[in-house]
């Protein structure tokens, strides 16, 4: 919110333990406004758990999450959203029995707008994303890829500072991936938010991300500029190698 010092969203030495099982251990990561950071790693590496920590859905067992220097220990998910950290989910998780417009509008009223104002903002956003034709359709009836776009719209309303996207391209065709890549690029350009992108599709990751953070078995395996990480021996062995 403070224009002089752009806030950052940071995990500091975060560990999460489920009944003795370590999902992530000692992971540190900083997301700056305006950048796109890729979060990759094999299945079970702890990517979603880390995103859950960064959005208030999971309390770190050790370590902490800071937003613009503020400690977030007592924040729940709604508090993170109000502070400008929005996220999407794998598989959409739309409000199925509500219209697409209402789906997006919920964020607006939850953040304090009147219904009328929230509805106007939601309509504008749907227009901007080119999905206004679905506005009055029930969300549960949308095809898979449009569901993802509505999920992104829902997160994007009220201009969050940070956007955490959990596998937005999963199950998409190459053509749809290109559209998604273009959309994310425009979001960064016009909204200026910092985007954390969990994604398996390396074409999408390398095409979009400034930096990449690689998790494996709950630990940070590598991090750095996308091109460097791509050529990192350990990363290729653990992850990229498997894809040829």
């Amino acid at each position: 919110m403070n224009a002089a010092v752009p806030p950052s969203l940071a995990a500091e030495a975060v560990s999460v333990t489920f009944d003795g099982l370590r999902a992530i251990s000692g992971v540190s990561l900083t997301l700056e406004k305006g950048e796109i950071l890729g979060l990759i790693g094999p299945n079970g590496a702890g990517k979603t758990t880390l995103v859950n920590c960064l959005s208030g859905f999971q309390l770190p067992t050790e370590g902490r999450v800071r937003l613009g220097g503020q400690d977030t220990v007592r924040w729940d998910a709604a508090a993170f959203r109000k502070a400008g950290v929005a996220r999407t989910f794998q598989g959409g998780r739309l409000f199925r029995d509500m219209s697409v417009l209402d789906n997006v509008e919920v964020t607006g009223v939850a953040l304090g707008l009147s219904r009328r104002a929230a509805q106007r903002k939601a309509s504008e956003l749907l227009d901007w994303m080119g999905i206004a034709q679905f506005a009055h359709q029930l969300a549960g009836t949308l095809p898979y890829t449009d569901e993802r776009r509505v999920g992104i719209a829902r997160a994007l309303l009220m201009k969050p500072d940070f956007l955490l996207l959990d596998e937005p391209a999963a199950g998409m065709s190459d053509h749809e991936c290109e559209q998604l890549t273009a959309l994310i690029r425009i979001i960064r350009l016009e909204q200026g938010c910092g985007i954390l992108l969990i994604e398996h599709n390396m074409a999408v990751v390398l095409g979009l991300c400034d930096r990449v953070h690689v998790l494996d078995g709950g630990r940070t395996l590598a991090q750095g500029r996308a091109a460097e990480v791509r050529n990192d021996r350990a990363v290729i062995d653990a992850y990229l190698g498997a894809e040829g």
Binding site: G56, D76, A78, F89, D97, E105, V106, A110
Partner: protein, 305 residues
């Protein structure tokens, strides 16, 4: 007809919470009960001497007053709504099935309390001579009022957020919704409407008994909501009309109809059996209720989902 308006108020009261939150509540008849007794405490009785005699546990101030019915209705709404708000704020820390079971224990607990709190409620004995204010006009007016309040809540930001939490609780939190708060508000508001329903019942029969506010009316009103379709306000109203029509018809058949000299009569108890059959048929062919989640549309005026 007058009885139906009471049921409309009750089922609409249920809809405000159950329909919008998606959490089944077995406990709302408690607030109907609280409303009925609140009405008695404030507006009973036509003979002032009755209250000190039957309800010696009541505060002296209440023993000596018998305010007109509107004050009784207002007291019913306030006490039922207030207690629903307090109880809801505790219960709504739970979700899903756990919350439903907790509402059932609320019903059982409130019933046991009122049954044994003899000095204040008269215990198991019925309180008679309650002022009768209900007629079909007043009933209709109150029913319209209940529908209007439910509609306004449905359209409000709190209704919208509540339905988001119903469809996807996790995602609603990610949208910034305070799930506990929106559920508690709806619980309190629906408790308030149930309380008015209780006062209407008391002011219709002129008699109040704890047993009238327990399992029978709980399941009848829930059946009406589910048959009509808990997904929409129209469903709540249609469910009342449909099930009232069916029970009324079956009751007439039970009494018997004359065909020439022959008297055709269904065996006693068929009313309940028939009601069960209707429910099963609706569940098979329209699992989301008669209205299937849609609202009635009248010309261009449309109750928006």
């Amino acid at each position: 007809m007058t009885e139906m308006t009471i049921r409309v108020v009750l089922v609409v009261g249920l809809y405000v919470f159950i329909g919008n939150s998606g959490i089944l509540s077995f406990g709302h008849v408690s607030f109907m009960s609280i409303g009925a007794y609140a009405f008695v405490w404030i507006s009973c009785c036509t003979l002032p001497a009755l209250k000190p005699l039957y309800l010696p546990g009541l505060p002296i101030v209440l023993q000596e007053t018998a305010l007109p019915s509107p004050a009784g209705i207002a007291a019913a709404a306030a006490l039922a709504g207030g207690s629903a708000l307090v109880i809801g704020s505790i219960l709504m820390r739970l979700s899903g099935t756990a919350a439903s079971i907790a509402t059932f224990s609320l019903l059982a607990g409130q019933y046991a309390l009122f049954r044994n709190w003899t000095g204040v409620t008269g215990g198991t004995s019925s309180l008679a001579n309650v002022p009768v204010f209900m007629n079909s006009a007043i009933g209709t007016l109150l029913a319209i009022g209940a529908v209007l309040i439910a509609w306004l809540h449905h359209q409000s930001r709190y209704g919208l957020m509540l339905r988001a939490a119903r469809d996807e609780q996790t995602a609603s939190k990610a949208s910034g919704v305070n799930v506990w708060l929106v559920r508690t508000i709806a619980f309190g508001l629906s408790g308030l409407i149930m309380g008015v329903g209780g006062a209407m019942q008391a002011g219709f029969l002129g008699i109040v008994t704890v047993d009238a506010f327990y399992l029978d009316v709980t399941f009848l009103t829930l059946a009406m909501l589910i048959v009509g379709g808990s997904g929409s306000l129209s469903g709540a109203v249609v469910g009342v009309i449909a099930l009232t029509a069916v029970t009324e018809m079956l009751r007439r058949f039970e009494v018997g109809i004359h065909l020439g000299d022959a008297l055709l009569a269904l065996p006693r108890g068929f009313q309940e059996v028939g009601l069960g059959i209707v429910m099963i048929l609706v569940m098979i062919f329209r699992p989301a209720g008669i209205m299937n989640g849609r609202e009635l549309t009248v010309g261009h005026f449309r109750l928006k989902r």
